[in-house]
């Protein structure tokens, strides 16, 4: 089942046509072709640990046709949403807004499509992505994107630039039978500091059962001493299939924070690769999935400790009602060079209905025992009845008490979203899931 993945919209002719349409230089075409070769050779899941827990049965790839081209970005405007430093908005196959605040512009921030960057500052892109270092080579899904993207975005924050307000990446998607394949590359120079908020929204308000596709990447390179806070809210419509690879490579003393919330989509398959290369670098990752209906959140996370004295703090939380499922597949790898590692992986789930299901595989592979900490923990349980009882004794009706407990369980991730408005929106989003999760027969 797992190896049978053959996408009808993959192939050399498609990759070449995309490169031609985007007028890409030869080196970038070679990148695509290298990605294509790897895509063709790789099984859907390379890691024998996880092969049992890959389920793409809900995806009807044959009915999907990804966009063959995207329209060029509109002129830069200075009208950014309040509280943001910059914004790019991709609606289906077109960039509908791109804005840089004076702050961002002065700091030398680049927020643009690959084709524009290639015209103006090609080395920015080439330095970052040439040589396939920004995506996992053993991942079929990442290599598919590398070969077949129709849109590329680059976010670049130069050495020493410090942005107080977040850069917003907004995606609207959901046109029936259509799909966007994209790459997003984020580079922060030495001692640069920034935050990014990625919003993924439904472009179609009335789903009709026809599937749509969003397939993308986040490829992060952090220079020495750089700091990035990356938050994402996935709220696609119920017919959307979402595939995402996020990989980050951290330089010396670099710091990365992920706060990733997934609420929408029929299927989300995501894989995060944190590569702690630089000495003293650290990653803090918080991820939540709130599923209802038949949703499946397949959330994989690899954290590789390579440099000395690196820190990983990885937390995943899931709440599942109806027939929703969560697969949390995690692996911490402490390589021989990584003395003084501190690493923690936690996977926690709450099941609200009898048919809901949670799978956790929090794995460790350790070649270097000289660690500060290497541990993982995991738990699955229902909503704690004694907590419900306590809240009810304070006058809350039962359903509200249960809702509060679930919100409290997810709040640690919500609190890490950089924009207060975005935090509130996420809270609303999570609460809106609630009526979809009425109490099952008493536990």
């Amino acid at each position: 089942m797992t190896d049978a993945l053959k996408l009808p919209f993959a192939g050399e002719d498609i990759a070449r046509r995309l490169a031609q349409t985007l007028e890409e230089p030869n080196w970038l075409l070679e990148e695509r072709l290298d990605g294509l070769r790897r895509y063709a050779e790789l099984p859907a899941e390379m890691n024998p640990l996880f092969t049992t827990y890959l389920d793409l049965r809900s995806a009807r790839f044959a009915e999907l046709e990804p966009y063959a081209e995207t329209t060029a970005a509109v002129e830069v405007s200075e009208t950014v949403p309040e509280g943001a430093a910059a914004l790019i908005h991709v609606d289906e196959d077109r960039v509908v807004a791109r804005a840089l605040s004076r702050e961002a512009r002065d700091a030398g921030v680049v927020l643009d499509t690959f084709d524009n960057v290639l015209r103006e500052r090609p080395h920015l892109l080439q330095d970052a992505v040439e040589g396939a270092a920004t995506l996992p080579l053993d991942d079929k899904f990442a290599q598919f994107a590398r070969a077949h993207y129709a849109l590329g975005l680059l976010v670049h924050v130069p050495d020493g630039a410090v942005l107080e307000r977040p850069i917003v990446l907004r995606w609207s998607s959901g046109a029936p039978g259509k799909g966007l394949v994209s790459r997003t590359v984020v580079t922060l120079g030495e001692n640069a500091s920034a935050s990014i908020l990625e919003e993924q929204l439904a472009s179609v308000t009335k789903p009709n059962g026809e599937q749509s596709l969003w397939w993308g990447t986040t490829e992060v390179m952090l220079g020495d001493g750089a700091q990035l806070s990356f938050a994402a809210q996935q709220d696609f419509g119920p017919d959307t299939l979402m595939f995402v690879n996020r990989q980050a490579t951290l330089g010396r003393d670099a710091q990365l924070r992920w706060a990733l919330a997934s609420v929408g989509a029929q299927l989300q398959k995501s894989r995060i690769d944190n590569r702690l290369v630089g000495r003293g670098s650290s990653v803090r990752q918080a991820e939540i999935g709130f599923g209802s209906g038949n949703q499946l959140f397949d959330l994989t996370s690899y954290t590789r400790h390579l440099g000395e004295d690196t820190t990983g703090d990885l937390l995943s939380k899931g709440v599942f009602s109806d027939r929703a499922r969560g697969y949390f597949k995690g692996l911490i790898e402490i390589q021989r060079s990584a003395r003084g590692t501190d690493s923690f992986l936690g996977e926690f789930a709450m099941l609200l209905n009898k048919k809901a299901r949670s799978v956790a595989i929090p794995s460790l592979e350790i070649d270097q025992p000289d660690v500060r900490r290497a541990s993982h923990s995991s738990s699955v349980g229902p909503i704690d009845d004694s907590q419900v009882f306590y809240l009810m004794s304070r006058g809350l009706p039962r359903d509200l008490a249960r809702k509060f407990i679930v919100m409290g369980f997810l709040e640690p991730v919500v609190a890490r979203i950089p924009l207060p408005e975005a935090q509130d929106r996420l809270r609303e989003l999570l609460e809106s899931k609630w009526p979809a999760a009425p109490e099952a027969e008493a536990a």
């Binding site: 024998p48 640990l49 021989r336 592979e365 000289d370 541990s375 993982h376 995991s378 229902p382 536990a443």
Partner: protein, 468 residues
Amino acid sequence: MTLNQRQMVDNDRSRFDFKDNIVYLTETKRGLTRQTVEEISALKNEPEWMLKFRLRAYEHFLKRPMPMWTDGLDRIDFERIIYYRKPSEREEKSWDDVPDKIKETFERLGIPEAERMFLAGVGAQYDSEVVYHSVKEELTKLGVVFMGTDQALIEYPEIFKKYFGTVIPPEDNKFAALNSAVWSGGSFVYVPPGVDVPLPLQAYFRINGENTGQFERTLIVVDEGAKVHYIEGCTAPIYATDSLHAAVVEVIALPRSKVRYTTIQNWSNDVYNLVTKRAHAHEDSTVEWIDANTGSRKTVKYPSIYLRGRGATADIISVAVAGAGQHQDTGAKAIHLAPDTKSRIVSKSISKDGGRATYRGHLKVAPGATNVVASVRCDALMLDDISRSDTYPYIDIQEDDTHMSHEATVGKISQDQVFYLMSRGLSENEAQNLIVQGFLEVFTKELPMEYAIEFNRLVKLEMEGALG
């Protein structure tokens, strides 16, 4: 560990390292064919259904691919293995009748002493056949059956056929199929309803002879309300070429019964030890696996408990020590299939001198298994930075009222603790040894006294290799 115990720990590794020159009366040719399987069955005068069972297993073995999720198994050369050996013609009734050569081996293993002290019965497996067997009169009176599996097939055909292969069918995995095709020896235990076996039943297994496959098959049936503790310990001589041990252990715990199965495994470092151990726990029964693995080149073993009846309890303690050239791929599985069931898994592993210790576990709560409480705890200690430790837990929960918790840590020996102990007059090696024994205490304290001493001695020998 008390000072007294420490004095009892001696240092003589040679007792685990010997080989006798036995004349084998009957053995099959190297390699495995349909004819080998038929020959084994014929030599044993087996009923027709067992031959059919063996052949069905053999066919499956041929078809089944080698498992890919663990590495190194492709080095096993099935063609070089002798699948059946019979060291003496008949089952021995008393210790005096056991051939001197074999007796000598057992004496070096310390069986007679152990028997004097607390043994209820001895079923010692010398290569592929049980050669010595004694069941205390008391047990016979209680109706407890404890004998070689081959003998039980003849003497207790009904109960045998009812349970054999029901917990682990040949199609379960490649090595269960291999065992089912060529099995020989092993222990059979039946405890009648309500009987509380007052002393542990003990069996020693060992491999002798280069390239001897050892395919014992153990079947334990504990009837309603009965209680038993079964212990097996293994040592084997050290050889340069690969040997294979592929055992199958099936335990059936009927309603309200209690079974404890203790293993201390110390195969020599050339042995591939691939064991399928599984228990069915019926209503309100309790099954406990206490499992330690110190030897072998590679061990692949995950004692499993299928909680099939309401209110059943599973308790698994698994310990592994991986030294130079070794990979201990061990762990535990608890599969909850019924409501109100409980499981607890505790795993402790030590890796050193380039050894690799892997914990692989599976905790599953199937739909319908409501009100489950489950916990998993894995701790790993790495003694140097050329060794490796992996943890691969699988937790699959399909009921909303499950309470499950899992925790794992990996680390090295704390230098503070070593320093403290050294300041109290211990050498560095003694201090580390003591810390390791403390780390493993959760296991050791579950063992009968003699076994605890033996186990601590094994660990100490292992440690000296590393730290001396």
